[in-house]
C-alpha cells in the first residue's frame, strides 16, 4: 500500500505540470485577447494564480521524490543517493538539468501570479496583456520541461541506492546558487512581458515605468547574489585560487546582469522624466533574450567550458527556438510599434538624465563585447575557421577598460540635477574624492614600480567609494537641524543608491588587487617541512585520513606563523566520495585584513616517500570582492523596500 502511494507521486507531479501548461496557455490567450473586458482580464489573473499553484505543486512533489530517494524516477536515481544529507537531497532537486528547468517554470509562473495579484493603478490593457505574455513565457518553458526534459520520467529497472549528486555541488553556497540565479534569469521575463504589453498598447509612460522598476530590481538583485555566490563557491571549492574565469557559463550570467543593471537605471529616467521609454523597452527585450541565451549556452554544451554540464544538442536547439520566438516577437513588435511610444522630454548634455544615458551606453557596449567574445568561437567554427577559444586576456583587455571608463563618470551622476545640471559645482563637491583617488594612483604607481593597470584600477575604486560617501554627505548638508536627526530622515533611496555605488567601488578594489597582485607557489612538502610564502611561514604538520557522512578524506594540517609571532592552524582536504570517481578539494583559507592565504592539497608525490604537493596562494583584498557584491545586492534590496514604501504612501 505504502509503495503504491509513493509510486503515484511522480505521476501526480507530471499531471500537475501538464495542468499548469494548459492553464498558462489559457492565461496567455485570455490575457492577450481580453477584448477590453474586466471579467476576462480577471479570469486571466485567476488562471495565472492557478498555474503557479500547479507548478508549485509539481515542484514540491519533485522535492518530495528526492527526499524519499525514490530511485524509480530517473532524475532522482541519477542525482541523489540514499546516504546524502537531507539538505543536499532537497538541493538535489534543482542541482540537475531536469529539476532546474521545472524550477524555471515554477519561478516564471510564480512571478506571473504575483504580478496578476498586485494590479495597483495599472491600466486594464497593460495589466491584462502583461499577464498574457507572461502566461505564454511560462507555457513555453513548461512545454520544454515536459517534452524534452521530463523530471518525472520513470526508470525501469530502478537502482537501489542512486548515483549521487556531483560531489562538487554538495555545498551550501551551491545549493542556493541555482535558485537565486533563476530568480534573476526568470525575473527578466516580467520586464520582457511588460515591454511587449507596452508595445501592444502603444504606450510606455511614467506609470508603466513605475510598474517596471521593482521587477527589474528583483531580477538584478537576484542575479547579483546568484553570481556572487557562484563566484564565492568557485573560489573556495575549485581550489584554483581564482574567483572569476571569464568562462562562457559565467559570461552567460554576466551579460543579463549588465543589461539588468542598465535597465534598473533607464527605468528610473522613464519613471521620473518620461524619456528613454523606447530604449527601456528595447533593453527589457534584450535582457530576457540574453537570459535565454545564457540558458542555451549552459545547457547545449556548444561551448567548451571549465564548468561542465551534460550535453544535449536537441535541448540546445529547443532553447534556441524559444529564444528565436521570444526575440523575434520582441524585436518585431519593437520595430513595428516603437514609434508610437515616444514622448520625449528634453534634457541638457549635463544633467542626471545624460549621465544615466552614458551609464546605459557603457553597460550595453560592455554586454555587447562580452557577447562577441562568448559567441566568437561558435561563429568561427560555423564558418569553418577551426576550433578556437577566447580566454580571460580578451575580456581583461576589453571589458575592464570599458567598465573603468564608465566608473569614472559614475560618482558624477547623483551629483547632477534632473533636466540641467551644474558640472563645475558637482566637480567641486567631488574634489576630495578626486584628490584621494589621485593620491592612491601615485602611491600605487610607486609601490608597484609603475604598473599602470592595477594602479588605475585602484584609483577608480577609491574614487567610487569616496564619491559615494560624499554624495551621502552633500545630502546631509540640506536643510537645518541636528546631524543625527538628518541621518534618520535621509530617504531610503539615497542609502540604497549609495550602498550599491559604494559596493561597486569596493568590488573594483578587491577585483583589481586580487587580479593584479595575487601570488602563488607550488611546493612539495613532507610532514614537518615548512616554506616561506607571502610574509608567512607555512609548515605541514601531518597528513591523516578522516571519514565524512558520504566520503572519506585525506586531511593535511598546517601551521601558519605570522611575522609578528602569531600562529594559526589551517587544514586542507581531498575528499573521495563513494559515489563518484572524482575527488574534490576542500581548501584551507586563512583570512586576514590584507587578504586570504589559500592552501590547496594536491596529490602525494610518488618519488619522494611521504611528500605531498601543496599549492599556496595569497589573494590580496579578495574579501572586498564578496563584500562589494553583498553591498550591491543590499542596495538593490533596500531600493525595493523604498519603492514599496513609496507605493504604500501613494495609495
Amino acid at each position: 500500500m505504502e509503495g503504491r502511494r509513493r509510486a503515484m507521486i511522480a505521476e501526480i507531479g507530471a499531471f500537475a505540470a501538464t495542468l499548469a501548461l494548459a492553464l498558462s496557455l489559457a492565461q496567455g490567450g485570455l490575457g492577450l485577447f481580453f477584448q477590453q473586458s474586466e471579467a476576462r482580464a480577471a479570469a486571466a489573473a485567476a488562471l495565472a494564480q492557478a498555474a503557479a499553484l500547479c507548478c508549485g505543486l509539481a515542484f514540491v512533489l519533485l522535492v518530495t521524490l528526492f527526499v524519499q530517494s525514490d530511485f524509480t524516477v530517473a532524475v532522482v536515481a541519477a542525482n541523489s543517493h540514499i546516504d546524502k544529507p537531507l539538505i543536499y537531497k532537497i538541493a538535489g532537486a534543482w542541482g540537475n538539468h531536469e529539476g532546474s528547468m521545472l524550477l524555471w517554470c515554477f519561478v516564471s509562473a510564480l512571478f506571473g501570479a504575483i504580478f496578476a495579484s498586485v494590479r495597483g493603478s495599472q491600466s486594464l490593457g497593460l495589466w491584462a496583456r502583461t499577464i498574457g505574455v507572461q502566461g505564454l513565457v511560462t507555457a513555453g518553458a513548461l512545454t520544454y520541461a515536459l517534452f524534452l526534459s521530463n523530471p518525472f520520467a520513470r526508470l525501469d529497472p530502478a537502482p537501489m541506492i542512486g548515483s549521487g549528486l556531483n560531489p562538487l555541488l554538495q555545498d551550501p553556497a551551491l545549493a542556493a546558487h541555482p535558485p537565486l540565479l533563476y530568480l534573476g534569469y526568470v525575473g527578466m521575463s516580467v520586464p520582457f512581458s511588460l515591454a511587449l504589453a507596452a508595445l501592444l498598447e502603444g504606450k510606455a509612460d511614467q506609470a508603466w515605468a513605475r510598474v517596471l522598476r521593482p521587477w527589474t530590481l528583483i531580477a538584478w538583485t537576484s542575479l547579483t547574489l546568484g553570481i556572487g555566490l557562484g563566484s564565492y563557491w568557485a573560489y573556495y571549492e575549485l581550489g584554483w585560487g581564482g574567483w572569476w574565469f571569464w568562462d562562457p557559463v559565467e559570461n552567460a550570467s554576466f551579460m543579463p546582469w549588465l543589461v539588468a543593471a542598465a535597465l534598473v537605471h533607464s527605468a528610473i529616467v522613464t519613471e521620473r522624466r518620461g524619456s528613454l521609454a523606447s530604449w527601456t523597452t528595447l533593453l527589457a527585450i534584450m535582457g530576457f533574450g540574453l537570459a535565454l541565451l545564457g540558458t542555451f549556452l549552459v545547457r547545449s554544451g556548444v561551448l567548451t567550458s571549465v564548468h561542465a554540464f551534460a550535453v544535449d544538442p536537441q535541448r540546445g536547439i529547443a532553447v534556441l527556438v524559444m529564444l528565436a520566438v521570444a526575440l523575434g516577437a520582441g524585436f518585431g513588435l519593437y520595430a513595428w510599434r516603437a514609434s508610437t511610444l515616444g514622448q520625449p522630454s528634453g534634457f541638457a548634455a549635463v544633467s542626471r538624465e545624460s549621465m544615466l544615458v552614458w551609464n546605459n551606453f557603457g553597460l550595453a557596449v560592455a554586454a555587447g563585447v562580452v557577447l562577441i567574445g562568448t559567441i566568437y568561437p561558435l561563429l568561427v567554427e560555423a564558418f569553418g575557421g577551426g576550433l578556437i577559444s577566447v580566454g580571460p586576456p580578451f575580456f581583461n583587455a576589453t571589458v575592464a577598460p570599458l567598465l573603468l571608463l564608465l566608473f569614472l563618470l559614475l560618482p558624477l551622476g547623483p551629483m547632477l540635477t534632473w533636466r540641467k545640471g551644474d558640472m563645475s559645482a558637482a566637480l567641486l563637491k567631488l574634489a576630495p574624492a578626486a584628490i584621494l583617488a589621485v593620491l592612491t594612483l601615485i602611491i600605487a604607481l610607486v609601490a608597484t614600480q609603475w604598473r599602470a593597470a592595477p594602479a588605475i584600477g585602484l584609483m577608480i575604486g577609491v574614487w567610487l567609494v569616496a564619491g559615494g560617501f560624499i554624495y551621502i554627505w552633500t545630502r546631509l548638508q540640506r536643510g537645518a537641524g541636528k546631524l543625527s536627526a538628518k541621518i534618520a530622515l535621509l530617504p531610503l533611496a539615497v542609502w540604497s543608491m549609495s550602498l550599491a555605488h559604494i559596493g561597486t567601488g569596493v568590488l573594483t578594489l578587491g577585483a583589481v588587487a586580487e587580479t593584479g597582485f595575487r601570488t602563488e607557489q607550488a611546493v612539495a612538502l613532507s610532514p614537518g617541512e615548512g616554506v616561506a610564502f607571502a610574509g608567512r611561514r607555512i609548515t605541514l604538520l601531518e597528513v591523516g585520513s578522516v571519514e565524512g557522512p558520504n566520503y572519506s578524506a585525506t586531511r593535511a594540517n598546517f601551521r601558519v606563523d605570522q611575522t609578528n609571532g602569531a600562529a594559526h592552524a589551517l587544514s586542507a582536504e581531498r575528499r573521495y566520495f563513494t559515489t563518484s570517481p572524482m575527488p574534490t578539494s576542500e581548501v584551507g583559507i586563512l583570512s586576514a585584513l590584507d587578504g586570504d592565504l589559500y592552501v590547496a592539497l594536491g596529490e602525494q608525490v610518488r618519488e619522494t616517500q611521504g611528500a605531498w604537493t601543496v599549492r599556496l596562494y595569497h589573494n590580496p583584498l579578495v574579501h572586498l570582492i564578496f563584500i562589494g557584491v553583498t553591498l550591491m545586492a543590499l542596495g538593490g534590496g533596500l531600493s525595493l523596500v523604498a519603492l514599496a514604501r513609496k507605493r504604500r504612501a501613494a495609495s
Partner: protein, 145 residues
C-alpha cells in the same frame, strides 16, 4: 543652434567610445584567441611561442610526477605528445581520459602547459577532444556530444 552643437558633441563622444570598444575587441580577438589542435597537428600548426589548446586522451601509464612538475603524454590515436605542467592537475584528471592542455609547444621537445582542463562531469568528454577522436575513428563514447 546650441542644442544642435550639443547633440553633435554627444554623438561624437559616443562614436569615439564605440570605436574604442570596437578597436579593443578586434585587437583582443586577434591577439588572445587560442586555437585548438590535436597532437598530430601540433608540429605543423603551432608556431613556436604561440598559445594553443592541445586536446586528446591521456596515455595510460605515462603520468609521472617530479616534485611539483607533472609529465604525461596526450594522444589522438596517431601521435603522442609529451606534456609538462607545473600546475595542479584538475580533480577529474585521469589516465585514459580526455584532457585539454593550454600552453606553448616547444618544437621537437614537449608541450609546456600552464592550464590543464578536465571536466567536472565524469561522463563528459571535451567537445574538441571528441571531434578530434572522431576524425581519427578513435571515438568510443556512447551518445555523441
Amino acid at each position: 543652434m546650441r542644442r544642435r552643437n550639443q547633440r553633435l558633441m554627444i554623438i561624437g563622444v559616443a562614436g569615439a567610445v564605440l570605436a574604442l570598444a570596437a578597436a579593443l575587441t578586434f585587437a583582443g580577438l586577434r591577439d588572445s584567441v587560442v586555437y585548438f589542435v590535436a597532437p598530430s597537428e601540433l608540429a605543423s600548426k603551432a608556431q613556436p611561442g604561440q598559445r594553443v589548446r592541445l586536446g586528446g586522451l591521456v596515455v595510460e601509464g605515462t603520468v609521472r610526477r617530479e616534485g611539483t612538475t607533472t609529465m604525461f603524454s596526450v594522444t589522438d590515436g596517431a601521435v603522442e605528445v609529451l606534456v609538462r605542467t607545473r600546475q595542479e592537475l584538475p580533480d577529474l584528471f585521469r589516465e585514459g581520459q580526455g584532457v585539454v592542455c593550454e600552453g606553448e609547444y616547444i618544437p621537437g621537445q614537449l608541450f609546456e602547459a600552464d592550464r590543464v582542463l578536465a571536466k567536472h562531469d565524469e561522463t563528459y568528454t571535451p567537445r574538441e577532444v571528441a571531434e578530434a577522436l572522431k576524425e581519427r575513428g578513435e571515438w568510443k563514447g556512447g551518445a555523441a556530444p
